[in-house]
Amino acid sequence: MSPAAHAPGWEWFYIGLYFFFAGVSAGAYFIGSLAEFFGGGRHRGISRTAFYIAFPTLLLTPPLLVGDLGQPLRFWHLLFHARSGFPYINLSSPMSVGSWALVLYGAMAFLSFLDNLVVEGKIEFAPFAKAYSLVPRKVYAAVGSVAGFFIAGYTGVLLNVTSRPLWALTDPLVGALFVVSAGSTGAAAIYLVMKWRQIHPAPELEEFERFDRIVKVIEIALVVAIVVAAGKYAGVLFRGTYAVMFWVGAVLLGTLVPLASNLYAHRRGHHLRSEPAAGLMAYLVLLGGLLLRISLLQAGQL
């Protein structure tokens, strides 16, 4: 790590939001895929919803990424070399690998999304149907999941593998934190959309809550480890706006409160937990995921 390393000057409303949407999309897709693989059809509600969430959420991200560039119209250089035109990848650069992963994941998320529409009869395209059905949806889901987890976690790796003190000192934890957080926000998103679509998730609510308990505990452990690893550079997280964002927003409201509520309901039996409260907790999880990323992103640039 090196205090002399320059801050990149990434804006929260481009890159912070990108981290968030990518996490939600990939987290949802991952859960949806697992539901698809191991749910044996019982969790089709979850996987369907997840695939409805993943692709549209992902579509929000290219404008954000491109908007933050100094030369937005050159965004395609991330994939094809400007001079030779050939596809280009730099394996030592998380950003380079991540760009290709985004393409791959995006393609898979699109196919799964299309799949949803086909299965639900919302679209028909007979000429392609045969070719389309050659590749089973599980293949997309599998490939997309791997690419999805990459999308969820690579942004944390991207930050860690720099020389900025906060990011370098918290290496190798932030990628793992973002993956875990993605799972959590993805689940929250799925829950909320299912509620909205009035797919009754009551039985699955308890599964979400179980999942969330495990994931939140891992998250808290990672947050503690990160703050300790940051040492004297953790100071940026204890002063000013980002302290509020991080501790009140991400840790308290986004993690501890939902976890507490979760444990309380679990102790007392889940039927005591009313659905509106569950909805509120889901919103808090999403908010917390957003603020976690913004605060770590921006505090590392102070």
């Binding site: 790590m1 090196s2 002399a4 390393a5 320059h6 990149p8 000057g9 987290g27 991952f30 859960i31 697992l34 539901a35 191991f38 749910g39 019982r42 969790h43 089709r44 509600g45 979850i46 369907r48 100094g70 030369q71 937005p72 050159r74 250089h77 991330l78 070399h81 400007a82 280009y88 730099n90 030592s92 998380p94 950003m95 380079s96 987890f149 976690g153 790796v157 860690n160 593998v161 720099t162 020389s163 370098a168 290496d171 190798p172 990628g175 793992a176 993956v179 875990v180 993605a182 799972g183 679509r197 039985p203 699955e204 599964e207 979400f208 179980r210 999942f211 495990i214 994931v215 891992i218």
Partner: protein
């Protein structure tokens, strides 16, 4: 044969001709952030006095590719006082954090060993900025790209030396084949040591795979604002990736545990269509 520069800080007089020559050759403006426009005379006026000895440049930026640092070492009784001076720029590391981080191939190593930043390829993603442990590469709002010292790429590929080395009046900055420059540096270091300058050291033989722009310092590198053991951040990539994968696995296991067991519950014929 790689080419680079040997900077002998012990004969640097802090004249900053290197800073000006760099700007002249590379057609760089005065640092925009350092100027305000006079409303009456309508010309830019510099407002960047820092109070940091004779250094008003403060940092390497998209338009400042060289910066002379001044370190005053005077005890209260002034005995043995020294004024250390060092001209700082891109080190053109053999294992360069910026180059490793670049997702478009804009940062390239040429056949002469320098790290150039192709302005037509760069998209201004700014990922190279935090990846340089020296804080060299920076973003230029005027071009929308990252910019830094190129070791005068066009000059050195046409039989000339760097602009800064040419302008340096004392020969403190010397351009040439790295192997030859190392001999010169070793000789200077030996000379200084023989004169009792025990803290003298060469910075750049081992750092970041070896720096093609390396320095003779008369004190610890941290005194000159350079990281003592600079690390190339991408060397941590394997470990970080592994831990992140572990995190993903943990999420996967969590999901499996959470969603799978319930699948064998008494929900029986519940249809979860739509």
């Amino acid at each position: 044969m790689p080419k680079g520069m040997f900077v002998d800080t012990t004969i640097c007089i802090g004249c900053k001709a290197c800073q000006v020559a760099c700007k002249q050759w590379n057609v760089l403006p005065g640092e925009p952030a350092d100027f305000r426009t006079d409303p009456v005379e309508k010309i830019p006026v510099a407002v960047n006095f820092t109070g940091d000895s004779y250094d008003n440049t403060a940092d390497l930026t998209g338009t400042n590719w060289r910066r002379v640092r001044f370190i005053e070492q005077f005890p209260e009784n002034r005995a043995g006082g020294r004024w250390l001076i060092s001209s700082d720029s891109c080190k053109h590391c053999n294992d360069a954090g910026c180059l490793n981080a670049c997702p478009t191939g804009a940062l390239v190593r040429t056949d002469l060993g320098n790290v150039a930043l192709r302005q037509d390829v760069c998209i201004g993603c700014k990922y190279c900025l935090p990846s340089c442990p020296y804080g060299v590469v920076a973003f230029s709002h005027e071009t929308g790209t990252a910019r830094k010292c190129t070791l005068c790429d066009e000059r050195i590929h046409n039989g000339l030396g760097t602009a800064c080395a040419k302008a340096c009046p004392t020969g403190s900055i010397a351009f040439g084949e790295v192997a030859e420059l190392k001999k010169k540096a070793d000789a200077r270091l030996a000379k200084l040591k023989s004169l009792g300058r025990g803290k003298a050291n060469i910075y750049g033989y081992k750092e970041a795979g070896g720096l093609n722009v390396f320095y003779l310092f008369d004190d610890r590198p941290s005194v000159y604002g350079q990281p003592e053991s600079p690390e190339v951040p991408q060397r941590r990539l394997p470990m970080t990736s592994a831990v992140t994968i572990a995190g993903a696995v943990a999420v996967g296991v969590a999901a499996l545990v959470a969603f799978r067991e319930r699948g064998q519950s008494d929900r029986g014929g519940e249809e979860v269509e739509k």
